[in-house]
């Protein structure tokens, strides 16, 4: 029996070394180019970091900007491809899965590195208020990029404890996040595990507790620093689902500390015909032309009276 155990260990050591070498190779660009095709994991390496990390870096970098515009994927769709040559506004579009928690961190990073900041704009779809750290894809879009940048500490102790109890404290550690995020194979295995067994597939919240908390907290921080906080909607699909969601959002925010913030948000909602949208939230590719998006931005500016001179249109 002892001989068998020794043989088994001798058999397993080279096997584990080979598997470890394959895994290590997936951390390199060349290795990943080959291995991600073999393992069908092309879309998993730095999946959320690619979206959020540049925003984190920009928010942290000192500059002459005095206003920051943060937003979800619909905001990014509308504002993408416009040449931003504006020394005042810093545009940081990310994704709904970043959640309000992530937008809060970005705002805090901007405020800390821009002492002369005057305005923070949050441009979010009604559905974006529902996201939490335990929603589908939030690990890759919130925990991984913000954890790698060691910026999760901006969040409250309750949120951090909630994340620890949901994911396990090991999976909030920088090196573990790097081990997952840096390899498409590792990330694929872990993210699918989360999707299948851990994270919520559907969220029935209208506004998550975290979103309400961080909007209120950001509002107070901005007041303390004499910074104006604006909550604005990007173009919203004119669907029954959205109509219902907006009504429920009105109810949920009524008589709360963030009611004032939302009053202007609801006034500024511009509804666009359903046929223009591919999934009820994002424009179909044929409506992502410069003219349509430019009109959307004009509409946002006219309704809110904000964001004037934000973009220089591309001819």
């Amino acid at each position: 029996m002892k001989k068998t155990i020794v043989k088994t260990i001798a058999f397993l050591i080279p096997l584990l070394l080979i598997l470890a070498m394959i895994d290590l190779a997936s951390f390199t660009s060349v290795g990943d180019a080959v291995l991600s095709k073999v393992f069908m994991s092309q879309n998993y390496r730095h999946v959320g970091s690619m979206v959020a990390s540049p925003a984190i870096k920009s928010a942290q970098t000192e500059s002459s900007h005095t206003k920051v515009v943060l937003g979800d994927s619909m905001f990014t769709h509308v504002f993408a491809e416009f040449g931003v040559q504006n020394d005042d506004y810093l545009i940081l579009g990310t994704n709904m899965a970043v959640t309000v928690d992530g937008q809060y961190i970005l705002a805090r990073l901007f405020l800390d590195s821009h002492p002369k900041a005057t305005d923070v704009y949050l441009v979010l779809l009604p559905v974006s208020f529902a996201g939490r750290y335990d929603s589908a894809q939030s690990y890759s879009y919130l925990i991984e990029p913000f954890g790698r940048a060691q910026t999760l500490s901006y969040l409250s102790e309750d949120t951090i404890n909630g994340m620890k109890s949901h994911y396990g404290s090991l999976f909030l550690k920088k090196n573990v996040i790097r081990f997952l995020d840096g390899s498409s194979i590792n990330n694929k295995i872990y993210l699918y595990y989360l999707q299948k067994h851990v994270n919520k597939a559907d969220n029935n919240d209208i506004i998550s507790d975290e979103a309400a908390y961080y909007l209120k907290d950001l509002s107070e921080i901005c007041k303390e620093r004499n910074v104006n906080l604006h909550l604005l909607p990007p173009p919203v699909c004119d669907s029954a689902d959205n109509a219902d969601r907006i009504n429920r959002l009105k109810e949920a925010t009524k008589n709360t500390d963030i009611e004032d913030l939302f009053d202007k948000y609801f006034e500024c909602i511009s509804l666009y015909p359903e046929y223009m949208f591919m999934d009820g939230h994002h424009f179909k590719s044929e409506y992502l032309d410069i003219q349509t998006r430019s009109d959307c931005i004009d509409d946002m500016q006219n309704k809110s009276g904000e964001l004037q001179g934000l973009i220089h249109k591309v001819e």
Binding site: M1, K3, T4, K7, F11, P14, L15, I18, L19, I22, K37, V38, F39, M40, S41, I185, K188, I189, L191, Y192, Q195
Partner: protein, 400 residues
């Protein structure tokens, strides 16, 4: 006399209870307003239970204690999808103490690896393409549909044989032999031969507990044909309560009846290699046609598939890149082709006794280890490939 009547009554009572439970579980999908209850492996241990009761009644099996009996019914490697072991053999295996034997354990390990190779590398990858086309038959040309029905024949073989190898391997590692369930069934020269080598334990069960009690072949040709048909129709219904399963069973019954009634094409066994190959191909085609009904959700879907193949079979469309739009990339398809070649070649070599598990386990350790490493890495790679795509599937037969 009274004693016999009482024993007979008890046997019928137990069998009836088992059948009521089995049929009750099977017919749930027919009622839309019922949330179906899933009972793992019920089809398989129901058959084991019936076999045990009948054998005890006929005095072919002794009455075992509850402990032995429960060990036999719940033996975990074969619990979900067989093989359908007879109590006599398995209880004997379970009750004999066997010391750990490294060679036997290694054989078991290799069988598990071979089974995983069948399941993960071959069956699950083919399953991606099969599911894609069966989900939208009208969206694909007849040639693609033809390719898919052929691939499904391979998928179900690799899936079920894979399960059986794993079950045998796990049992083997514990020093317990379970009956062989597959013996390279697609290398058979007739349908009768196919059923001797496909799902062997079910075929034996149907023979022993349906076909022979019905009279077998002892009451003339017509009665024999009827018995064959009844046996295969029951086999179809055992797989699922649906007209498609009934047609699948009926087709196999019909094939055998035709074979039996002397159609030379089937009956005459050619000794030449070409003749043998032609018989193998013909048998494979007949089995594949029946699998269309087995895989389809309904007879109308199967009919749609067949009509698509007949009316729109432009083989040229296969070269237009459609194959690469069925859920697998070029690397995965290349890997699948290599795996299929390995499966076919190893099956042919095993069939002709050129290689065997015993010969492999006697090879130098370096060769065995390298082969094992390649297999393990291939299986792990295949598992990760499909992980997260929503295409990883359980064993097909575990659903019955």
């Amino acid at each position: 006399m009274v004693h016999n009547t009482s024993r007979r009554f008890r046997m019928i009572l137990i069998i009836s209870m088992v059948l009521i439970a089995l049929i009750g579980i099977k017919i749930q999908p027919l009622f839309a307003n019922i949330k179906p209850i899933q009972i793992f492996g019920i089809s398989f241990y129901s058959l084991r239970l019936i076999a045990y009761v009948v054998d005890v009644y006929h005095g072919q099996e002794e009455v075992h204690g509850l402990e032995d009996y429960l060990c036999f019914i719940s033996f975990f490697p074969i619990f979900t999808a067989g093989p359908i072991e007879k109590s006599e053999h398995l209880i004997k295996e379970l009750s004999v103490y066997k010391a750990f034997d490294e060679k036997i354990a290694y054989r078991g390990f290799i069988m598990i690896l071979y089974g995983l190779f069948f399941k993960q590398v071959i069956a699950d990858r083919i399953g991606v393409m099969v599911d894609e086309v069966y989900g939208d038959i009208s969206g694909y040309s007849g040639a693609v549909c033809l390719l898919i029905v052929v691939l499904y024949s391979v998928q179900i073989y690799a899936d079920f044989a894979g399960y059986s190898y794993i079950a045998m391997g796990m049992s083997g590692m514990l020093g317990i032999d379970v009956v062989k369930n597959f013996n390279r069934p697609y290398l058979t020269v007739s349908i009768r031969d196919f059923w001797r080598r496909w799902h062997i334990s079910l075929s034996r069960w149907l023979r022993d507990y349906i076909y022979i009690p019905l009279g077998g072949n002892k009451k003339g040709q017509i009665r024999k044909s009827i018995n064959i048909m009844i046996t295969f129709l029951i086999s179809g219904l055992w797989h699922g309560i649906g007209l498609n399963f009934l047609v699948w069973g009926g087709l196999h019954g019909l094939y055998q009846v035709v074979e039996d009634t002397g159609l030379k094409l089937f009956k005459k066994k050619s000794d030449s290699l070409i003749g043998r190959v032609l018989h193998i191909i013909l048998t494979f085609i007949l089995v594949t046609i029946a699998w269309i009904f087995f895989r389809s959700d309904s007879v109308s879907q199967a009919t749609e598939m067949i009509l698509r193949i007949i009316t729109d079979c432009n083989i040229g469309s296969l070269t237009q890149g459609t194959i690469f739009e069925l859920g697998l990339g070029s690397i995965q398809i290349t890997g699948l082709l290599i795996a299929l070649i390995i499966m076919v070649v190893s099956d042919i070599m095993l069939e002709n006794n050129i290689i065997s598990l015993d010969k492999f386990t006697s090879c130098p350790a370096v060769i065995r280890w390298v082969v094992s490493y390649v297999m393990i890495i291939w299986v792990v790679t295949a598992a990760i490939q499909l992980y997260g795509t929503g295409e990883t599937a359980g064993f097909i037969y575990a659903a019955f």
